[in-house]
Symmetry: C2
Subunit: 208 residues, 2 copies
C-alpha cells in the first residue's frame, strides 16, 4: 500500500495522478487516494494566501517550464490553465462521495480537465457532466458531496496531512509513515513502501 495525498490545484499532482497506479502496481502495491486542501496548509505554515507559484513569480515561471518538460517525458498533454490555482474544494468532496473503486478515474479526469482541457473544475455543470460521462448518477453524488459527513471527512484529511508534516502535493506515505514529497519522489516512495511491506511479510513468516 502507498498513500497518495493530492490537491486538485497542484500542478505536479497531475503527472503523479496519471502514473501512480502503473508505478505502484508494478511493485505490487495498492494506491490509497487521499484528497486534501493545500490552501489551509500554505496559510498556516507559510502565511501564504495564494499558491507559492503566484506569490513568487520566479518560482512559478520555472515550475511551468519544469512541468512542461516532465509532461513531455511522460507523454502527457499540458495546457497551462487560464485560472491558477483553481478551486478544487467541490471536486475533492466528490472524490469522497464516490465508491473507492470509482475514485481514480474521477481524479484523473479532473486533472485532465484542469491541466489539459481548460475546464473550470469548480463549476457544478462541469462536475455533473463529468459524473454522467463516468456513469454516475450526478444528483445522488452531488448531494453526498455536500453532506456534513463528506465535508467533515475532507476537513479531517487536511488536518491529518498537516499533523503528519505535509506541506505540498503530491505527497506519498509508505506504510511505516515515511513521507516523500513531489512527483519526482514517486519511484523512491514505491521502493520504500515495497521494502517495508516485504520486511513486514518476513516478520509474519518468522512469527509462525
Amino acid at each position: 500500500m502507498i498513500e497518495f495525498w493530492f490537491e486538485f490545484a497542484s500542478t505536479y499532482s497531475y503527472p503523479a495522478a496519471m502514473r501512480i497506479e502503473k508505478v505502484a502496481g508494478a511493485a505490487g502495491l495498492d494506491v490509497v487516494w487521499k484528497p486534501m486542501l493545500l490552501g489551509p496548509l500554505f496559510q498556516a505554515q507559510q502565511g501564504l494566501k495564494d499558491s507559492p507559484f503566484n506569490a513568487f513569480p520566479v518560482k512559478g515561471r520555472y515550475m511551468w517550464r519544469d512541468l512542461e518538460r516532465t509532461c513531455i517525458d511522460d507523454g502527457l498533454p499540458l495546457n497551462k490553465p487560464a485560472i491558477f490555482p483553481q478551486n478544487g474544494l467541490k471536486a475533492a468532496r466528490i472524490v469522497l462521495a464516490l465508491p473507492l473503486s470509482a475514485r481514480p478515474d474521477f481524479v484523473r479526469a479532473v486533472y485532465r480537465a484542469n491541466f489539459v482541457e481548460g475546464e473550470v473544475i469548480s463549476d457544478d455543470g462541469f462536475l455533473e457532466g463529468l459524473l454522467i460521462r463516468l456513469g454516475h448518477s450526478p444528483d445522488g453524488v452531488m448531494a453526498r458531496a455536500s453532506s456534513d459527513a463528506v465535508k467533515a471527512e475532507l476537513k479531517k484529511n487536511t488536518e491529518e496531512a498537516a499533523a503528519r508534516g505535509v506541506f505540498g502535493a503530491p505527497t506519498f506515505f509508505a506504510p511505516d509513515g515515511e513521507m516523500f514529497w513531489g512527483n519526482d519522489r514517486l519511484e523512491q516512495a514505491v521502493r520504500w513502501a515495497r521494502k517495508v511491506k516485504n520486511v513486514s511479510m518476513d516478520t509474519k513468516v518468522d512469527a509462525t
Copy 2:
C-alpha cells in the same frame, strides 16, 4: 558543458557537488563551477531573511530527512551541522581566487566540512588550514579572495543568477540556457546539455 550554480549553505548542493563531475563526465561534458550567494536572492524574491528551511520548519524537517535518504543512496556521509545556514561568503570568494583546475577539490572539501565534519566554514583559520591541506599558499589566496576584483565577481555571479531566474541551489544550465533546479534534476540537465551539444556539433558538420 554544463553550468553548476551553487551556494555553500545549500544542503542539496552538497550531494550535487559530490557527484556532478562523474555524471557530467560520463556524458562527455565539462562542468563550469559557479559560486553565488542565495541570501540576496531569497530576500529579493521571497522577502526571506533566513533559509526557507528555518523560516518554515515543516519544510526544514522534511528536507533534512530527504537529504539523509539521498546521501544514503549516494553513499555519502551526512552530519547535520550545528549552524544552519552557514555563512559561505568567504569560501565562495576563495573559489574565485583559485585557478579553475583547483576549484572542484576546494568546493567538495568545503561541503564536506559543512555537512560532515562540523567545521565553521566562515572561519579564517579553517579556510587557511584547508588551503594548506590542498597544497595552496594560504596568504596569497586569502589576499586575492578579499580583493575588489573577486568581491565584484561574486556579486556579479549572484546578480547574473537572479537575472537568469535562479531562485535556489543547486541550479544547472545547459549551453542553450535551459535551467534545471535541484540535485534531483542533475541527470535530466546532463541529458539536455548533451542533446544541445550534439545538435550544435551536427550543425557544424552540416555547415562544412
